[in-house]
Symmetry: C2
Subunit: 395 residues, 2 copies
């Protein structure tokens, strides 16, 4: 268990507490007065239960002295357990705007390509008949993250969001939780952001107009990110015409048909992946395609033949080849590893991007924990800098 | 992304909201008045921003109407987002006592053996030079769980706990987070509990005295669990004599030497696994050994020869064979799969346990997410039944 006998706690003589509290600790990201509450790790039946407050603390109710919890006689350990700030959906969106998400996500791809940021494979936990859970860890920049997120497609029928979950951002030196965040907002920001990162890297320089196919939650954030990246004109398409019209009105773009959307310079598909929307005949010289909808086995928005006709890029090969847009073309034998370039390699300058102005480029996005880490780190920094308020919980 | 165009939100006509709110939803585990706050999934610039409160709610401040967050014109979705209860370290320990943890953990092993509870492999995320993170998912009993937990052995030098983290308990039908819990307390309870479960299943019926080797956090909880299971006499040993004495005093047991602890009927080793404490010569007929300290590659508390001399049991083969007490003996060629019985099979009646009164039984515990799920579910039930108070956060 990693517990060293005798190191789980320290027996203190009176006065010993004063010395321990004085130990310096780098306040990593704790610019708010270092709210840290000292609590007895195990209660001591005898001796002094007095406690000291570290730092001023903005939420005095969380720092009030509480009676020690008696589990019987055990050593007294003044192991500091901090309050954890929590950002809900709206606070995340207030803390991190699309432009910031684009920048941070791009940096994360480079850092991952260089090996500085690391990411084990995401773990799927199905709930048969209902949906699935995904556990997504990553480490980088002195932080670590775990995003626990869902896809439960029947939920809207019950008035619930398809995607829910929680993100824990942790300190990579101590392992301590630093912040909890709503996962839906983090996911929406980073999904939209990568579409803009890929478009900037791979679309033609003259590209101006965006086509958005699928105007649900993530399609909307894709459109907002592309608008934030400077694409001033676009066509929004959705089988729900109202959804397309509302998104278009928000951005000053237009609603249109599927062919109209496909005729744009940068086309982003953000559909559930249950039906193909791009066929080989839809491809035009100079097109850049962002394929964001297929994020698990069995989903596809383009035919294998269409995929195989493009200059191919992906966020991460293992994910894209097993549960992304590329999977069908790979299984058909039309595409191999050598045909696909990692976006991070392009951004880091280690691999070429668009082959030429007439090429059709396709970026397969399956969603990486490093993207979530980028956005969560940005949100934490914004809170630390006072840009947004957080709730607080004790763990 | 699992988003169906048009299903991420619903355009509502006036009066439409009343109908949507009336949709029945089974209040799974929400016996506290179904605190559910309806928030705009995307803000609508035009139309009615009025909101309805569902349920009474005990924390009215969290249910006060807030101004919608404007992300521009987008459809209005009254997707209900509930407040999430949070149990801190002390609340978990108040909610779940060792006796209850023993019962629930035993049931979880049976359910897992029967295939009703499922558990993907835990994921390790190292933080080189500091420690490691573990992401542990599981599903069962209508619930799902993700425990994000750490082992950072240098932390006590900084006045911090070695083990920290957070647990998210979720609804397996909707994916929604149901509760957040402190991970340290859940882990301590389930680690101690499995020692008692294994002792009850594998030790001799006449076994009376417990030896506890390693009196840190998890050693203490192991001892408490065994005491709760009815073992009235024990010897506590730790290189830190004070730690052993305090634990012994708490339980009415005695502190003693390593040989004295090893001479007991049920011996539980709960050390960091950096040094062997059990050798072949320490084994006596009728002994039952719980090996709880080795929970990752490179750790061992017994020699391979000692391990190979025992009737062997494990919590889960993949974990035990790659990062548990059995690993060294397997790598030495002394032990194979056929030599090891799953504890869940014994508890379910599908495999024999102790071969006879003179056998030496060894149970290798590496720590399973299903154990965490068992304890977290028990804590949630206790909260739902009003046995403990929870904090609340919005996601």
């Amino acid at each position: 268990m990693g517990v060293a006998p005798g190191c789980g706690g320290v027996g203190l003589a009176p006065g010993g507490l004063a010395q321990r509290s004085a130990l310096p600790r780098v306040a990593r990201g704790r610019g708010r007065g270092g709210r840290r509450r000292e609590v007895p790790h195990e209660a001591l039946e005898r001796g002094d239960h007095g406690r000291r407050l570290l730092g001023g603390g903005r939420r005095s109710d969380n720092l009030e002295l509480r009676a020690p919890v008696h589990h019987g006689v055990q050593r007294l350990s003044w192991l500091a357990v901090p309050d954890v700030p929590v950002l809900d959906h709206d606070a995340v969106l207030e803390a991190v705007k699309p432009a910031a998400a684009i920048e941070r996500v791009g940096e994360a791809f480079v850092a991952h390509h260089l090996g500085d940021w690391v990411m084990p494979a995401k773990v799927y936990l199905p709930s048969p008949g209902w949906g699935d859970f995904r556990a997504m860890p990553a480490r980088g920049g002195g932080l670590a993250l775990l995003k626990w997120i869902t896809s439960f497609p029947h939920n809207p029928e019950r008035g619930l969001p398809t995607v829910t979950g929680v993100v824990c951002l942790s300190d990579a030196e101590t392992g301590e939780p630093l912040m909890l965040l709503d996962a839906r907002s983090v996911t929406a920001l980073r999904t939209g952001a990568v579409a803009a990162v890929a478009a900037r890297a791979l679309a033609r320089e003259e590209a101006e107009r965006c086509g958005i196919i699928g105007c649900g939650l993530h399609g909307a954030w894709t459109a907002r990110s592309l608008a934030a990246a400077g694409y001033a004109d676009g066509i929004c398409h959705d089988p729900d015409a109202g959804a397309a019209e509302r998104l278009a009105a928000e951005l000053g773009w237009r609603a249109g048909t599927l062919p109209q959307a496909l005729a744009c310079d940068v086309v982003s598909c953000v559909t559930p992946g249950r039906a193909v929307v791009v066929e080989a005949g839809d491809l035009r010289p100079g097109l850049h395609l962002n394929m964001l909808g297929a994020d698990g086995p069995g989903k596809a928005e383009a035919t294998p033949a269409a995929v195989a006709s493009c200059a191919l890029f992906c966020d991460e090969w293992a994910q894209a080849s097993h549960g992304g847009e590329l999977t069908g073309a790979i299984e058909s034998g039309l595409v191999t590893r050598e045909d696909v370039t990692d976006l991070g390699a392009v951004l880091a300058g280690g691999a070429p991007g668009r082959p030429g102005p007439d090429a059709v480029t396709l970026f397969d996005s399956t969603g990486l924990a490093i993207q979530d880490l980028a956005v969560a780190a940005a949100a934490h920094a914004a809170w630390r800098d006072g840009a947004v308020e957080a709730q607080t919980v004790r763990l």
